[in-house]
Amino acid sequence: MGINQRVFLPFLLVLTLLSAGQAFSRPYDELLASGFLRVGVYENFPPYSFKNADGEAVGIDVDIAQHIADEMGLELELFWMLPDEDLADDLRNYLWRGHVLDHDHKHERLSGKKVADVMLRVPYDRNFNYARGYIGQGVYAYQNDLIVMMMPYQRETWKLAHNSDRLEAARTLAVFQYHPIGVEMETVPAFMLTSVFNGNLRNQVRHFRSPAQAFQAMVEGEVTAVMAMRGELEWLLAQHASDSLKMGDTTFPAMGKQHWDIGIAVREADRQLGYHIEGILEPLVMSGEIASIFERYGVTWEVPAFYDF
C-alpha cells in the first residue's frame, strides 16, 4: 500500500482544478483581529508536544507556540497533528490544503477544511522547499512551493543511549553484533542498523512503535541501547533517573543525514505572518535564551546550523 511517497503532484492538480482547495483564509490583518493564533504541533510527541498526566498541553513546541501567541497578543489555539507518511503529507493535511476527511469548517474557508496558521517542528531545508519533481513532457515542477520554511530554532541529531551496566560504552556500532538495540520502526536508525555491516546487526535490532517503548525495553533489560533523536532520548533519560542509563557519544558515519535544523512553516501567501514570528523567535535563538524552554524538559538546546557561523 504505497512505498513511502513523496511525489504528491496530483494534489497540486486538484488545487489547480478546484480553486476551493486553496488556502487564502485568514490574511494577516484578519488573523490579528481574530484574537487567536492556530499553531500545528504533533500529537503525543514528547518532549515536543503532548499532554501530561493532567491532560494539559505541554512540551517544547507548545511552550514556543505559547510564547509566540503571547508576544502577538493572541490566544493560542493548538491544532494537534497526526503524522502521515512524510513531511509533504503533513504540510498538505495541516497547512495548505486541509485533511481529506474534514468537511466541517465551512465558516472558515471555502474548502471547508481546517488548517493551521503556522506549523512547528518543520525541518528547515531549502533543498526540500525548492525540490522539483518530474511531471512529464519534459517538465520539472516545484513540489513544495505552496509553503515556506522559515525560522530554524533548533538543531536535531541522532543519538544513542545505552545501559552502562551491560555495555560500558558504545564507541562503535560494531558492539551491536552482540547487544540488542531498540529503535522506532520506519526511521533512519531502523534502516541504518538493519543494513550496515552487510546486515550483521540485523538480528539484534528490536523494532518498537515509539522511542518511549524502546526506552522502556532498555529499562527492563530487553535491549542494551536505544537509538533515537537527541531530544527524545534526553527527555526519556530525565524521566528515568538512573545512574546506569547514559547518553552515548557514538558517531554514525554510515548515516546520510546526522543533523538537521528544525523551524516553522507558513503558507506561501502568509509570509508576513512568518516574518512576524521570526521577529519574535530570532532574538531568543540568537541570544540562546530559547535554551531555557528546552531545559524545562531536560533537553539540551543546540544552535541551528543556520546560525552557527
Binding site: G2, I3, Y48, I135
Partner: protein, 588 residues
C-alpha cells in the same frame, strides 16, 4: 447517521401497500451459496461467493445490447465525492450500495428513490492510504454489513438503516482501515484489514453475523499467534507459519505488513476461503532478506477455524510494492477428459496464475501484460526468476541526495490492481482489466517524517504507450493466450462482469459504461455516466426485465500518484452516482 425518517416511513407504508412479491425476506446462507445461479437478486460481492462475476441471464444479448437505455440515476449527494468503487447489491427490489467516506444507501431498484442512508461518523485524523473509498456491502438475514475507514464493521437494519451492531476490527490510530466488502459464509462475516506502512500486521477474522462477536482471528505474518473463541473463551490456535524468524530477519516479523485489504472469496466445493496479502514492511527489501511469509501471497483458509490450508507466494521478498491481494476466482475446466478444479488470479506483478484449488499447487503461470522487467519468468513451481538489476537500490547505500534510478514494469499500481476480473463459463475465458505502465524508483535523503530526517523513495509512474494505458483482455487460462484486447487511453480501474449471452461489461475513467462481445472484443455499446467509472457493474432480473447497474465517480488511487499518469487523467471530473439500465419495453 442521517436517517431520513419522514421519507422512510412514507415509503414503508407504500411498501406495505404493495404486492407480496416485494415483501422483504431475510437473506439466508443458501441464498448466498446460490447467488451465482439466481437471477432476481445479487446478494454477494462477486455475483457469487466464487466471485466469477458471471450471470446466467440471456435476455440482454449481443444483438440487442445496443438499445440499452438508462432508466434512472441516483446521486450520492453532498460534497463527499472522490472514488466510487462499490458493486451494488440487490435484494427484493432494493439496491444497497456504498459510497465514498463510508456511506451506505438503500435505493428503490425500480425508481432510484432513496429509502435510507447511513453516514459513518469518522474520527478526525484517520489516514486512509489510497482515497476514501468503499467497495461494497454484504447482506445477511435482515442486515446490511460493511466496513468503515476507521476499521469497524457496522451492521445496519436493511429496512431502516439503523445500526444493529458495530465492532472494531483494528485500531485506526495504528493505521488500520477497511474498504473491502465483507464476505459472508456459513453465518460468519469474514473480513480482512487495510493498513499502510505503519507496522500493521495483516489478519483475516471471522465474526458471528448475527451478533458481531469475534469467532477467530488469523494473522497473515509468520510468527503471530492465531486465536479461536470457544464458549466465549479465547483459545490459542497455532502460530501462523509455525514459528517466527523462518523467513524474516530479526524482529521484523512483528511489524511485517501483509495487509488483507481487498477481502476474499469462498469455494463451497473445497470449503476454503481465499484471501490475498499485501506487501511486506518496511518497503526496503534489502533490510529483510528472506521470503517474508506470508506477504504478497494467496492464502486458503478453513472458514470454521481460520487455519491456513495452503499458501502461494507470488512475489517473495517484494521490493516493488506488488501487493498479492488480487481476487482468487474458483473455476473448473476440462483437460485430457478430466475436470480440473482450479483457481485463477492476476497479480499486480504482471503474472497470471492458475493453481490447483484444493492444494494450491502451481499448474501454470504466464504474463498477462506486455512488459515485465522485474522477473524474466516463473520457474516450475511458479516462483519468479528475479532480474537483480531491477530491484530498487538499498537506501542505506544512497550516495548524495538521490540514489540510482531503477525503471521497472509493471508500476507499483500493478499489471492489474484491485479491480475484479470476470470468468465466463460460456467462453472459458477470463476478462482482465489491466494496465500497461512502468515506474522509476530512486532513493532520496532529502525527506522527513515527524520532525526527523528520513530515507524516502521517490518515484514516478509512466505510461508505456502514447495512446493507451488500460487494456481489457480476454485471456485463456489453459494456454495463456490473449484472445482479444481493447486498449483504453486512461488506466482501467473498474471491475468487469460477463453474461451467458456473451456480453462483457466494464467502465472506464472517461466515464463510459461499455459492453463488449465476449468472443470477439467488439464494443457493442457505450454510455457516458458523466464521471469516471471505477466501480463494478452488475446485472439482474426484475419484473421479467434484465437490468444493469454501475456506480460512477472518478477517484481511487490513480489520481493520487502523480507523474505522467496523473496528467493523463487530470481532466476527469469527480462524481458520485448509480446508473441503472434496461432495454425499452418494446423488447418484451
Amino acid at each position: 447517521m442521517k436517517p431520513s425518517h419522514g421519507k422512510y416511513f412514507a415509503i414503508s407504508a407504500l411498501v406495505a401497500a404493495m404486492s407480496l412479491s416485494w415483501q422483504a425476506h431475510a437473506v439466508t446462507n443458501d441464498d448466498l451459496l446460490q447467488d451465482h445461479l439466481t437471477t432476481d437478486r445479487i446478494v454477494t460481492d462477486g455475483m457469487g461467493l466464487q466471485k466469477q462475476r458471471y450471470s446466467p441471464l440471456t435476455k440482454l444479448n449481443t444483438d440487442n445490447v445496443k438499445d440499452l437505455r438508462p432508466v434512472w440515476a441516483f446521486s450520492f449527494g453532498g460534497e463527499k465525492q472522490r472514488g466510487q468503487e462499490a458493486q451494488p447489491i440487490i435484494v427484493d427490489g432494493v439496491m444497497y450500495v456504498s459510497a465514498s467516506y463510508s456511506r451506505v444507501f438503500a435505493v428503490d431498484a425500480r425508481t432510484g428513490e432513496e429509502l435510507w442512508e447511513y453516514n459513518a461518523r469518522l474520527p478526525d485524523g484517520i489516514m486512509p492510504c489510497c482515497d476514501v473509498i468503499n467497495r461494497g456491502v454484504g447482506v445477511y438475514d435482515n442486515l446490511v454489513i460493511f466496513g468503515t475507514l476507521d476499521a469497524r464493521l457496522v451492521a445496519l437494519d436493511k429496512d431502516t438503516g439503523r445500526v444493529v451492531w458495530r465492532k472494531t476490527v483494528g485500531d485506526y490510530q495504528e493505521g488500520y482501515s477497511i474498504t473491502a466488502a465483507p464476505l459472508i459464509v456459513n453465518d460468519k462475516i469474514i473480513t480482512g484489514v487495510a493498513g499502510g506502512e505503519f507496522g500493521v500486521v495483516g489478519k483475516v477474522e471471522a465474526y458471528d453475523a448475527k451478533t458481531g462477536n469475534l469467532l477467530w482471528t488469523r494473522p497473515t505474518v509468520e510468527g503471530h499467534m492465531g486465536y479461536i473463541w470457544k464458549d466465549g473463551q479465547q483459545v490459542e490456535n497455532g502460530i501462523t507459519g509455525g514459528e517466527a524468524g523462518k523467513t524474516w530477519p530479526g524482529d521484523l516479523w512483528k511489524t511485517g505488513g501483509a495487509a488483507t485489504w481487498l477481502g476474499g472469496s469462498y469455494d463451497p466445493d473445497t470449503n476454503l476461503l481465499f484471501f490475498g496479502t499485501g506487501n511486506p514492511a518496511p518497503w526496503n527489501s534489502h533490510l529483510r532478506p528472506g521470503d517474508n511469509l506470508y506477504s504478497s501471497s494467496r492464502l486458503a483458509l478453513n472458514p470454521d477455524t481460520g487455519e491456513i490450508v495452503w499458501s502461494f507466494q507470488t512475489t517473495p521478498n517484494d521490493g516493488w510494492d506488488y501487493d498479492g491481494v488480487n481476487e482468487v476466482i474458483s473455476f473448473d475446466y476440462e483437460e485430457n477428459g478430466k475436470t480440473v478444479k482450479a483457481v485463477a488470479t492476476a497479480d499486480r506483478n504482471g503474472f497470471f496464475y492458475v493453481l490447483e484449488r484444493e492444494s494450491g499447487d502451481f499448474i501454470r503461470g504466464f504474463p498477462f501484460v506486455d512488459k515485465i522487467t522485474w522477473a524474466s519468468g516463473l520457474d516450475e513451481n511458479g516462483r519468479p526468476i528475479f532480474n537483480d538489476d531491477n530491484r530498487p537500490g538499498n537506501p542505506a547505500k544512497t550516495e548524495g541526495t538521490q540514489g540510482q534510478t531503477v525503471t521497472t514494469a509493471p508500476s507499483f499500481l500493478g499489471g492489474k490492481n484491485w479491480m475484479p476480473m470476470a470468468y465466463s463459463q460460456e467462453t472459458g475465458l477470463f476478462y482482465v482489466p489491466s494496465n500497461e505502465w512502468e515506474m522509476d524508483i530512486w532513493n532520496e535523503d532529502v525527506t522527513y517524517r515527524k520532525g526527523a530526517a528520513y530515507l524516502g523513495a521517490g518515484f514516478t509512474i509512466r505510461p508505456i504507450h502514447e495512446d493507451y494505458i488500460g487494456v481489457l483482455r480476454a485471456i485463456d487460462p489453459k494456454t495463456g493466450e490473449e484472445v482479444w484486447r481493447y486498449n483504453n487511453y486512461a488506466p482501467l480501474w473498474g471491475g468487469v462482469m460477463t453474461t451467458k449471452s456473451n456480453l462483457v461489461f466494464t467502465g472506464n475513467p472517461e466515464g463510459y459504461l461499455m459492453a463488449f462481445d465476449a468472443k470477439t472484443g467488439e464494443m457493442l455499446y457505450r454510455f457516458n455516466t458523466g464521471s469516471g467509472i471505477v466501480g463494478t457493474p452488475v446485472t439482474w432480473e426484475m419484473d421479467d426485465e434484465q437490468y444493469v447497474s454501475v456506480v460512477s465517480g472518478w477517484g481511487g488511487a490513480v489520481p493520487l500518484w502523480g507523474g505522467e499518469v496523473a496528467q493523463r487523467v487530470s481532466n476527469f471530473n469527480q462524481g458520485g452516482s448509480v446508473f441503472t439500465f434496461k432495454l425499452p419495453k418494446a423488447y418484451e
